[in-house]
């Protein structure tokens, strides 16, 4: 994984609450055995009509949002299933951070393992972001802050270990495998 310290991008705003994993990537796209190319199916049922034609009114289809790497969404983003295909699809599409007032537990864990930064801000900061689609933001993992459209900064919580892994490109499996002796000892002690 590449180290991540700062993400600078304009935002794309999807002002819906409880965006669930079935919306992020519908189940019919989960029959793959690889992680590649899932960005095509991101938000498939909102992005395309039943004939597969892009719906011009959907925000990710609008010219102004092309290339935006930061998704601002409503409360409880990523609820539902444990499918890691959801962050895989977002990352493959080019999204590098999701900002909301809360993010579902499993989605957050999955996101962090794929270099997708979950940024949880308070309602006031969220409101500023919602009302300024396309505004440039700067997410700084070092200071755990995000700059808001009005120039102010909001801090966001992130687990220290997860932040360390993101900033240093460390993957958790490597860390777990380094605990081999402790795991051996635990197994012997039961």
């Amino acid at each position: 994984m590449n180290p991540i310290r700062v993400i600078e991008s304009r935002t794309v705003v999807l002002p819906r609450e409880n965006v669930d994993t079935d919306q992020i990537i519908p189940a019919r796209f989960l029959k793959t055995t690889s992680k590649e190319g899932l960005g095509r199916s991101l938000f498939a049922d909102w992005r395309y009509d039943s004939a597969g034609t892009p719906r011009p009114e959907f925000v990710l289809n609008q010219p102004a949002t092309q290339g935006c790497q930061v998704l601002v969404a409503g409360d409880n983003f990523g609820c539902g299933s444990s499918r890691e295909h959801a962050p895989w699809a977002l990352v493959d599409f080019g999204i590098r951070a999701v900002i909301s007032t809360s993010v579902a537990d499993i989605f957050r864990n999955n996101a962090l393992k794929n270099g997708l930064v979950p940024v949880v801000v308070d309602a006031a900061a969220h409101q500023k972001l919602l009302s300024a689609p396309g505004a440039p933001v700067r997410i700084d993992l070092e200071s755990r802050t995000v700059t808001l459209p009005d120039g102010s900064r909001a801090s966001f919580p992130i687990d220290g270990f997860a932040r360390y892994c993101l900033m240093n490109g460390v993957d958790e499996l490597g860390f777990l495998l380094s605990q081999g002796e402790a795991i051996d000892r635990f197994e012997r002690s039961r």
Partner: protein, 473 residues
């Protein structure tokens, strides 16, 4: 020692390393369940790194999501929906063979939805840590296990190290007093709990279901209850083990026998929360006040009594909640204030890891016996074992004589990956757990309910209160 909750006891007993400010806990996993959809990329990762499965004997696989629910043909071939589904299932077979993992494949006597199969084998036991690349792993908490869903990267972690890195969640006690009335089930109870908590209300928490109404539930019903904990955002739900649990487990193939069984039961008896144990949050509910529930919207928290009316979004105080209720009603094609009973439906689905166990099929059959369905109705047993038992009881005949379809086990129309889908615009009363947009098929509209309510709605061709149909039965 300070009094501890059930959760704390299980957590403490599985810490290889306790968490610190800088690092999460290393948590040991007793049982890892695997299925075809969330595992292929994890096995690929193992291969890429030259790693093996650390504890194959703690790993157990089956196939359920992409599998057909129509029987194999005369040539022994299964009617897969598409080549991709067949390839995914084949990949699991290959991975299990290569890595030495026990697999219960399609057509074998123990195959089934992973959360139905694990308990049936006695693989899920009190006090264990159980994970699976599936959010409804919460089901196994019914046995007093700490059971939660993980993503595919974490599936790889557990395969390789038998451990996970985890921050300790908070606890939320859900205390249910009173007694469920006739025709009101664990499904109605959990829909009522989620309606109260909200779909994000349990985030960061492990729920423990307590109280006399929970004690009175069968194991099947406790599994239904714990199964949907994730729909309130909680990763896990737990019920303390008791005699109901031990009786259900006794004699199953993976539980110990003889003196080892007695020793296990003695250990399990120490698991329930100590008197005076503290929870981070608590909520209380009176089971006696509940009616059969049904959802009207596009998340499982949008539920009402089957005798109720679709709420008016205008009554929502918060703008965001109002917008989400409006969007849900638009998608569902329902009107604020309309009675939900009588809403025409075209499809009924009885099955899934929420309500695909034997008691659920008995409940559906109780309503269907001697009646005819007015909708396309699929009854899908949760596992081969459930199917066999149901057939021995003649439930398949009841289902068929009512004009409903009796299928092979699998996830089926809960997720619609195997070709069992509803059409755009159709209404389906479903005993599954998610009414998300398109969950059962693109453009399909799902109303979640109990097996009683689903069967009654099939008979009526419209959403129906099951209680009148249960009178005298």
């Amino acid at each position: 020692m300070a009094p501890r909750t059930l959760f704390e006891k299980v957590w403490d007993a599985h810490q290889v390393q306790a968490e610190t400010a800088d690092t999460p806990a290393v948590l040991y996993i007793d049982l890892h369940l695997v299925h075809e959809v969330t595992s292929p990329q994890a096995f690929s990762e193992l291969r890429a790194r030259g790693l093996g499965v650390r504890r194959p004997e703690r790993t157990l696989a089956t196939m359920d999501h992409s599998t057909p629910t129509l029987p194999s043909g005369a040539d022994g071939r299964w009617p897969f929906a598409d080549p991709q589904a067949a390839a995914q299932v084949q990949r699991l077979e290959q991975n299990c063979a290569d890595f030495g993992v026990e697999l219960h494949p399609l057509g074998s006597p123990r195959q089934g939805i992973v959360h139905v199969m694990g308990p049936e084998l006695g693989a899920t036991q009190p006090g264990m840590t159980v994970v699976c690349g599936d959010s409804h792993t919460a089901t196994h908490g019914a046995f007093g296990a700490l059971a939660f869903g993980i993503g595919t990267s974490e599936v790889g972690h557990v395969l390789a190290s038998q451990c996970l890195l985890q921050r300790r969640p908070r606890t939320l006690a859900v205390k249910v007093d009173g007694t469920l009335r006739g025709g009101v089930t664990a499904k109605d109870l959990v829909l009522a709990i989620i309606a109260r908590l909200g779909v994000g209300g349990g985030t960061g928490h492990v729920l423990e279901y307590l109280g006399p109404a929970v004690r009175a539930l069968s194991m099947e019903a406790r599994m239904t209850l714990c199964n949907m904990s994730i729909e309130a955002g909680a990763r896990a739900g737990m019920v303390a083990p008791d005699d109901t649990t031990f009786q259900w487990l006794a004699g199953r193939s993976r539980v110990p026998s003889g003196a080892a069984w007695d020793a296990a039961v003695a250990r399990w008896r120490s698991l329930p929360s100590d008197p005076g144990a503290r929870y981070d949050r608590e909520m209380a509910l009176d089971a006696s006040a509940l009616e059969p529930m049904i959802t009207w919207g596009t998340n499982p928290g949008q539920g009402i009594a089957v005798t109720g009316r679709v709420p008016d979004p205008a009554a929502e105080k918060e703008a965001a909640a109002r917008a989400s209720a409006e969007a849900a009603l638009r998608y569902m094609g329902l009107r604020p204030g309309q009675a939900i009973a009588g809403q025409p439906v075209q499809v009924v689905f009885v099955g899934s890891c929420t309500n695909g166990r034997i008691e659920d099929l008995r409940a559906a059959a109780q309503v269907l016996r001697g009646r005819k369905v007015q909708t396309r109705t699929l009854v899908v047993p949760g596992s081969m074992a459930v199917k066999k038992l149901a057939e021995a009881e003649g439930l398949d005949r009841v289902v068929r004589e009512a004009g409903a379809e009796w299928r092979e086990p699998g996830c089926s129309m809960c997720i619609g990956m195997n070709g069992d889908v509803i059409a755009a615009g159709q209404y389906c009363v479903s005993t599954s757990n998610r009414n998300f947009e398109g969950r059962q098929g693109q453009g399909g509209r799902t109303l979640l309910a109990s097996p009683y309510t689903a069967a009654a709605s099939a008979v009526a061709g419209a959403v129906a209160d099951p209680r009148p149909l249960l009178e005298g039965r």
